[in-house]
Symmetry: C2
Subunit: 583 residues, 2 copies
C-alpha cells in the first residue's frame, strides 16, 4: 500500500470523552471515529486491524471444524419470546417495529436463531455433532457505552454454537473450541489467560473466559504462578482456613468509636489488626409465600474487614439466587438499628433472619464489630457467647493476593484483565426452551446439548492497545498491525536516489508477501515518524540520503530505543528474521 492511496488521519488531541488509553489512541491514530454514543466507524486503518483479527479467528474456527454461516442482524421477536429473553434482556435488547407493525430485535447474540436452525435441520444423531459460527454485527443498547469500541453498542462478534447428542459430546466440542481459542490468542501475539469462570445455573466447570492481561483491565484475574490454576475473581475459591477457631480470651466490651465507621478506621483507632474486624452486610430476598405478597426476608452476611463479598458465590447459596442489598428502612424495621453501625450482636435472634459467616469469620475469636448504635463498636466478640453460631458457614468472599491456591500448589496472585472471549457449556437450556430435539440411536427424541463460544472481534484491537502502548502511541504485535512494515523515505522529493531506493525496496517487500506501506506523502521526517509511532506499525525502515551513500538503510522496531543500520542488500532477510511467526 502507498500512503498516498490510503487514508491516514492522525490527531494531536484526545477526544474529551475518552477515559482509557486505547480509546484515546484509537481515535488519535485514526482507527475509529465516533458516529454516536457507543457507535463507531471503523476507519480504514482500524478496519485493517479488524480484518486481521477476523482472518485468524476464521482460520482457527475452520480448523476446529466450525461451519460458518451468517444469521440476520434483524431477527423476529417471536423467537426471543420463546426463550423468554425478549423480556429478560430488558432495555439492553434493541427492539424495532417494522412497517407492518411486527416486532424485531437487533441481535445481541444468536442462540435463538441458531437453535431454530438446529431444530429444523437436525433430525438424526447422525448429523451431530455440529458447530456453527458467524462473524457478524451485534448490538447491545448499553445504558452507558464507553471506552470506545471496548464497550460499544454496535460491535462485531464471532459467535459459535455447538450441538451434541449428549453431555460427553458437548464437553468434547467445548474442549475443541477452548483449544481453538488458545491457538487464536497465541496467534494474536497477546499476553492472555484462560480463566475458569462461573457457569451460573448450569453448574459444572465448563466456562472459561479469555482475558487479555493489561494493568487497565476491568476484571480481576486470579492465577497461581506455581501451577496452571487460573480463574476469574467471581469463580476463584477461597480455601477453608487451616486449624480450628482459637480459644477466646477477651470479654465483650462496648467501646466508643466516635466518627469511625469503616473497618479500616476502627481497626486503626482501636489498635487491632484489620483481620480481626468483622463487617456486616444485610441482604434481602423476596419470598413469594402463599397468600402473602412479596414478603421480604433479610440475611446477615459476615465478612472479615479486609475481605470483600463475592456476589456470585452468595448467589449460589440456596434462597439467595435473586438477592439484593437490604434498604435502610428494611434493616431498621427488622433489626431495630440504623444500617451504619450494624453488627451481629443482637438482643435476640430476629425471626426469619439467617446469619451467614464467611469461613474466615467463623474461625475468629476476640473480634470487633459494630454495636448497632452510632459511634460504638464491640470488642472481644465471641461466637456462641455473644453471637449465636452462624446458620451457614461458606466461602462468601473474593480471594486476595497471597491466598492459597485451590489446587494446593502455591499461593494466588491477582492481575487485571480484559475479557475478550468466553467459552460456555449451555446444556439443554435453549434446546428445551425451543424444543430442539433429534432422534437418537434408540429412536427416541432427545434435547440437543449445546455450547456457545464468543470472541469480541472489535474489542481485540482495544485490548491489544491497552496491553501494548507507550507515551508515543500504539505498539502492535505483528499479527494485528494494520501494516507490518512501514517504509519511510526521507525527503524523497529532493533526492531521486532516496525515491528510487525506497521504490525498489517497496517492490521487493511486496514481492515477499510482506504487508508494507510506503509513506510517499512527502511529509517532514518528524511528522512521518510521529504518525507511525502513534499508529504503532511494529517495523520501520527509513531510507535517507546520508546512510544510502554508505549503502545502508535504518531499521527500528517500535519498541527499540534507537535505529540499526542495515546494508541495503540485507534488509529483506533482516526483516524476515524479525517478523514474528505468521501462521
Amino acid at each position: 500500500m502507498r500512503a498516498s492511496r490510503f487514508h491516514i488521519s492522525t490527531y494531536k488531541d484526545s477526544p474529551a470523552d475518552a477515559e482509557t488509553v486505547s480509546h484515546r489512541l484509537m481515535v488519535r491514530a485514526g482507527l475509529i471515529r465516533k458516529l454516536g454514543s457507543g457507535i463507531y466507524i471503523l476507519m480504514p486503518m482500524g478496519w485493517r486491524v479488524v480484518r486481521k483479527v477476523e482472518a485468524i479467528v476464521r482460520e482457527e474456527m475452520d480448523r476446529a471444524g466450525g461451519i460458518e454461516l451468517s444469521m440476520p442482524v434483524i431477527q423476529p421477536a417471536q423467537l426471543w419470546q420463546q426463550t423468554g429473553r425478549f423480556d429478560k434482556m430488558g432495555a439492553e435488547l434493541l427492539r424495532i417495529r417494522d412497517r407492518h407493525g411486527n416486532d424485531f430485535v437487533v441481535q445481541p447474540t444468536s442462540e435463538e436463531v441458531v437453535t431454530d436452525i438446529a431444530r429444523q435441520e437436525v433430525r438424526s444423531y447422525k448429523q451431530l455433532p455440529k458447530t456453527f459460527y458467524q462473524i457478524q454485527t451485534k448490538f447491545r443498547d448499553e445504558r452507558r457505552p464507553r471506552f470506545g469500541v471496548m464497550r460499544a453498542r454496535e460491535f462485531l462478534m464471532k459467535d459459535a454454537y455447538s450441538f451434541d447428542r449428549d453431555a460427553a459430546g458437548a464437553q468434547a466440542s467445548y474442549a475443541t473450541m477452548a483449544q481453538a481459542y488458545r491457538r487464536i490468542f497465541d496467534r494474536f501475539g497477546l499476553r492472555y489467560r484462560a480463566v475458569a469462570a462461573d457457569s451460573g445455573a448450569i453448574g459444572g466447570d465448563l466456562s472459561e473466559e479469555f482475558q487479555v492481561i493489561a494493568a487497565t483491565g476491568e476484571d480481576a484475574v486470579v492465577y497461581c504462578p506455581d501451577s496452571t490454576y487460573a480463574a476469574n475473581l467471581e469463580k476463584a475459591e477461597a480455601l477453608p482456613p487451616q486449624g480450628p477457631r482459637p480459644a477466646p480470651t477477651l470479654p465483650l466490651t462496648k467501646v466508643a468509636t466516635p466518627g469511625y465507621t469503616t473497618c479500616e478506621q476502627v481497626a486503626e483507632f482501636l489498635g487491632v489488626p484489620l483481620e480481626r474486624t468483622v463487617k456486616t452486610v444485610v441482604l434481602a430476598t423476596e419470598s413469594k409465600d402463599a397468600g402473602e405478597q412479596g414478603s421480604v426476608r433479610l440475611w446477615i452476611v459476615l465478612l472479615r474487614g479486609d475481605h470483600e463479598m463475592n456476589e456470585v458465590k452468595v448467589r449460589h447459596i440456596e434462597g439467595l439466587s435473586a438477592f439484593r442489598l437490604a434498604s435502610a428502612g428494611e434493616i431498621e424495621a427488622t433489626l431495630g438499628c440504623p444500617p451504619g453501625s450494624l453488627g451481629p450482636v443482637l438482643p435476640a435472634r430476629c425471626p426469619g433472619v439467617r446469619t451467614l459467616a464467611d469461613r474466615e469469620v467463623a474461625v475468629l475469636a476476640d473480634w470487633v464489630c459494630g454495636a448497632n448504635e452510632e459511634g460504638f463498636h464491640y470488642t472481644g466478640v465471641q461466637w456462641g457467647r455473644d453471637v449465636p453460631e452462624p446458620d451457614l458457614v461458606a466461602d462468601l468472599r473474593n480471594v486476595v493476593d497471597g491466598d492459597p491456591s485451590p489446587d494446593g500448589q502455591g499461593t494466588l496472585c491477582i492481575e487485571r484483565g480484559i475479557e475478550v472471549g468466553h467459552v460456555f457449556y449451555l446444556g439443554t437450556k435453549y434446546s428445551q426452551a425451543m424444543g430442539a430435539t433429534f432422534l437418537d440411536v434408540d429412536g427416541k427424541p432427545r434435547y440437543m446439548e449445546m455450547g456457545c463460544y464468543g470472541i469480541g472481534i472489535t474489542r481485540i484491537p482495544a485490548a491489544a492497545i491497552e496491553q501494548n502502548h507507550d507515551e508515543r502511541g500504539i505498539i502492535w504485535p505483528d499479527a494485528l498491525a494494520p501494516f507490518t512494515v512501514v517504509l519511510c523515505p526521507v525527503q524523497a522529493d529532493r533526492s531521486p536516489e532516496v525515491a528510487a531506493a525506497a521504490e525498489a525496496l517497496y517492490a521487493a517487500l511486496l514481492a515477499q508477501g510482506i504487508d508494507v506501506i510506503l509513506d510517499d506523502r512527502n511529509e517532514r521526517p518528524g511528522v512521518m515518524f510521529a504518525d507511525w509511532e502513534l499508529i504503532g506499525v511494529p517495523h520501520r525502515v527509513t531510507v535517507g540520503a546520508r546512510t544510502l551513500q554508505q549503502g545502508k538503510v535504518e531499521y527500528q522496531h517500535r519498541r527499540d530505543a534507537g535505529t540499526t543500520l542495515v546494508a541495503q542488500e540485507e534488509i529483506i532477510a533482516f526483516l524476515q528474521s524479525r517478523l514474528q511467526r505468521r501462521a
Copy 2:
C-alpha cells in the same frame, strides 16, 4: 472439506412462497433459510458462495484504489435529517428509537455517514481523490419482499463512494469504478451487460447499471448487436422517425367499435395496422400557484397503439417531474368525457391542458383514436385539421425490438436482465446538503464532487442461478461455486479400494489448492448425485470400484450429458485444464 464435517441440507419440495427459480433452488439446495419476511439466514452452503462474491469484489475494489472501512449498521437519524432522506425515504427506511429516546435508522445505504466522514477528514485538495467502500449489512423495509434474497429486506451490499475536487476528477473516479465493475462481473463468469441508465436530476450520462442477463429478469435491457450501445429501457432513446408526415388521404369518420376498447382490439376490428392507432394517456400535476392551493393541471400524452409510455422520459419534460395518472373524475371534469374512450379530437382546446405527442405519433396521417364516446372511435384523423398540432413533440416511449440504435450502427434488441450493480455520478447533491467542502488549490472552499457505486452482494448468487440452472438444479460458474469440485466415492463403505483412492485424490486436490468437497456421507449414489446436481457444483469426479479396476475415474461437468473416463493419474491435470481462469 469433508461433507461429513459440513452441513448439507437439501429438500425435494419448494417453499410455497417461492415465485422464482433462484428462490426455489436456493432453498432446496440449502443455501438460504427463511427467518422472517424478506429476512434470510445464509446457510453454510450459501455463505460460501457469498464469501466468494465478496472476495472478488474486495480484490477488484482494492486494485482500483478503493479504501475499505466499515460504517455502522445503526446510524443516528440526525445525519439523515440533514439530507432530508429521513422523511423522503418513507416507510422503506427502518427506524429505531434507543433506550434514551434517540432516533436511529438501519442503513439502507451510507451516503450520509460517508459524507460526514469526508467533511470532517478531508480538509485540503491534497487529500483528494478518495474512494471509500464497505461490504456491510443493509436493510430496506420493502412493502412486499419477495424472490428470496433477490428482493430481501436485509441484504449485503458493497457500497463505494468517491470524493473529488471537480467534475472532471469525479468522472475519472467514475470511469475507474465502472472499469473495476467490468472486471468483477467478468470474474464472476456471468453473462452481463453494463447499460446506460437514467441519471435523474443530476443529468449527464454517468450512470450505468450492471445487468445479469436472464430470461426471468425483471428489467428490460436494450442493446445493439452491431455496436457497443446498451442501455436500460428507461434510458434508451427512440430516434426520430425518418422522413416527413405523409399527406392525409381520408376524411374524419366516427365509427362504432362496440365493446372494443384496446388499440389491439380496435385495429383488428377495423382492419387497420396497430401502428396507425393512437392511445391517449392523461397525466396530472399539482401546480402550487400563489393563492390557489393544489390546483391540478392535466396533460394529454399521445402514443402509438403499439408503443408504451416511458415514465422516466416523461418526467424529464419541464413541469412533469412529479406527474401522476389523472383520475377518472379529473378527466371528466376537465375534458368532459369518460376516460375509457378518450381521444385528442376535442370540441375545443380545453384551457390549460397541454398535448404532448410522441415523435412517432407526430408523423402519422390517417390515424385512429377514441371518439370520447363509449363504443366509438374516429378513423382518418389528421393533425392540424381534426386535432391541433401538439404543444410538444418528444421521445415519450419505450424503444421496441427492431428500433434503430441511437448510435446509428444497427437495430436494437431487447433482453431481460437482473440489476446487480449500479455506478452513479452524484455531483454535489450530498456534499451541498451536508456542507462537505475542502480548500482547493486557490485557498477557496469548494464542495466535493461525489459518485456512488453499489453491488448487491447477496443478490449475485440469485442472479447467477436465474442465468445458470436446469431442471435438476443450479449450475455454478467456477468462480462462484460453493465448492469447485465434488468427489463422490461410490459405496466406499463396502470397498476399501474406493475409499483409499478417494482419500488419496482428495488429498492431492487439496494440495493443488483446488476447492474440493469429498462426499463421505455414505449415501446411495442416486442420493449423492441428486444432491450435487441440485447444489450445482460444476465439476464432479466419481470414484467407483468398477472403473477403478481399469485404473480410471469418472468426470462429469454439471453441463455434460454424460461422464468421461479419465485415468487416475491424469485426473488432476484433466481437472486443472477444465477449471475456468481463477484470478
